[in-house]
């Protein structure tokens, strides 16, 4: 067992309430994090109004509970994406139980007027592939390729080990890549 790791865990477990609250520049964080959260949901549920709605819910929750976030800024995205994951989980639990894979893929309605038709078509195809993945595989891909998080950050958010994240991701990408090449 690594003593450094053990010490760090124990310290960090108890320290949060000894450090004074820090002022957070929410507007700057909003600007930085909005595209990441929005793309997380695009990869999770497809683009369009649903992705925007879930992004809104995430930020509104984060804002409501912002007093809980008052530690180092580097942990902010971890906290925000924990909320985003819960929002996605709630969404799937409440609204998506009865939808078929085709229906899920069909919800990628391409409501971004600036996107080209080809790009929308490609993303629709990608969403179709993503909808065939397991919930966990799709979530990991959304965190990495939608939100641009590192495997380490994803491991922290999901509770999986970093190597486990890498392994699942590698396997999933190989499958996805193969499907994409067949499509091309």
């Amino acid at each position: 067992m690594s003593t450094e790791t053990t010490r760090s865990s124990a310290l960090n477990w108890l320290l949060p309430f000894t450090s004074a609250a820090k002022e957070v520049d929410w507007e700057a964080l909003y600007t930085e994090q909005l595209p990441r959260v929005y793309n997380f949901f695009r990869f999770r549920v497809g683009e369009g109004a649903v992705a925007e709605d879930l992004t809104s819910v995430t930020f509104e929750k984060a804002w409501r509970f912002r007093h809980r976030y008052r530690r180092d800024l580097s942990a902010f995205s971890t906290w925000l994406f924990t909320i985003a994951r819960n929002v996605a989980t709630d969404y799937f639990r409440r609204y998506r139980k009865d939808l078929s894979l085709e229906e899920i893929a069909d919800q990628t309605d391409g409501q971004t007027p600036e996107s080209s038709a080809i790009r929308r078509s490609d993303f629709r195809q990608l969403s179709n592939f993503l909808s065939r993945l397991s919930n966990r595989e799709r979530e990991l891909l959304a965190l990495k390729y939608g939100s641009g998080l590192t495997n380490r950050a994803i491991a922290k958010i999901t509770g999986l080990s970093e190597s486990n994240v890498g392994t699942i991701m590698h396997r999933t990408i190989l499958d996805l890549r193969a499907q994409w090449q067949v499509k091309e």
């Binding site: 477990w13 000894t18 007093h67 971890t78 819960n86 390729y145």
Partner: protein, 326 residues
């Protein structure tokens, strides 16, 4: 692996959407900012967390490979109440051999254990508000439960208190038995009285079939020590007993403020652990090395002056989701 094509699907949110959401958030702010909580001061007092020691005891006892030895080893920790420690499997085996040789660890480390207050039997309540009234803490329950799992019951157990007196001669005897010859039990500790107060604990049980999840919450317990007790010295001895080398134990013991730090014991061969985020707080997730369901994973964290322990034979991410839905 060619994965760059996936990044190319990222897209900026519509400016109208970004602007309108920011406006809504700003309105929320104008309608009433949430006050920042004051810095919590309890951790600055001589406080450790016997609750967690109890929780970790429970964890350990579920691991077949360490159950018998852990029982006695943890009794020892309960008596000390100073710190938890990583458990070296080889040392655990050595302690087990000593135990089989009829060595009474409990008697080795202290005398005059006095129960000041019995914790009493747990009371089952129907309503979390009743638990709040009894325990004197805000009781939080998860909004998100893994599939099919439902709340089974809530129990409240009153707090307890014990006092004991350290016996360094017996501590030295244990060190000698373990072959730790370069550490001397500090004589100034002899006769030191330690009082441990454990606040009421609320335990919520969730279940589906044989799968059970337990959420425990309590204010932080308090340990009162006489002035002049130098905790790093004691911690160093505990770490040596647990199997750390002299260098490791010293580096560890003297780099942490033990008045505010709890080190959680994890048997290295039975479980792994890592940091996780719970509501923006760093928690400790201890995952059993055994298969799902046979032994529980445990998530420990502290929030708002309350210590939480969530354990169950479910997947780690489900535990995290539960914790974050409180």
């Amino acid at each position: 692996m060619e994965d760059k094509f996936l990044y190319e699907f990222q897209e900026a949110p519509r400016p109208e959407f970004a602007k309108s959401l920011l406006a809504r958030l700003s309105e929320q702010s104008a309608s009433g900012p949430v006050p920042a909580r004051s810095s919590f001061s309890l951790w600055r007092t001589p406080v450790l967390a016997p609750l967690s020691v109890l929780v970790v005891s429970a964890i350990l006892l579920t691991f077949p490979s360490v159950r018998a030895a852990a029982q006695h080893f943890l009794d020892l920790f309960r008596i000390q109440r100073f710190a938890a420690v990583s458990i070296n499997p080889a040392r655990l085996q050595q302690l087990e051999q000593l135990r089989e040789g009829k060595i009474d660890f409990q008697a080795l480390l202290s005398r005059n254990i006095q129960v000041l207050k019995e914790p009493g039997k747990p009371i089952i309540v129907d309503d979390p508000r009743v638990a709040e009234q009894i325990a004197g803490i805000p009781v939080r329950l998860p909004n998100s439960l893994p599939n099919g799992i439902t709340q089974a019951e809530i129990r409240v157990q009153d707090g307890g208190a014990v006092r004991f007196i350290a016996d360094t001669a017996k501590l030295q005897e244990l060190l000698d038995l373990l072959g730790i010859m370069d550490v001397q039990a500090p004589q100034q500790l002899n006769g030191t009285t330690v009082t441990v107060n454990i606040p009421p604990v609320v335990s919520a049980l969730f279940a589906k079939g044989k799968t059970e999840i337990m959420l425990m919450q309590s204010r932080s317990p308090e340990i009162s020590l006489p002035q002049g007790v130098y905790l790093p010295q004691i911690v160093e001895i505990v770490l040596r007993i647990a199997g750390l080398s002299s260098d490791e134990a010293q580096k560890f013991a003297y780099s942490i403020d033990w008045h505010s730090t709890l080190l959680v014991p994890v048997p290295a061969d039975a479980a792994s652990f890592h940091e996780v985020d719970v509501h923006g707080n760093t928690g400790l997730l201890i995952e059993s090395n055994y298969s799902r369901g046979r032994n529980p994973s445990v998530l420990l964290w502290s929030e708002g002056g309350i210590v939480y322990a969530l354990s169950g034979g479910i997947r780690s991410f489900e535990l995290l989701e539960m914790a974050n839905s409180l």
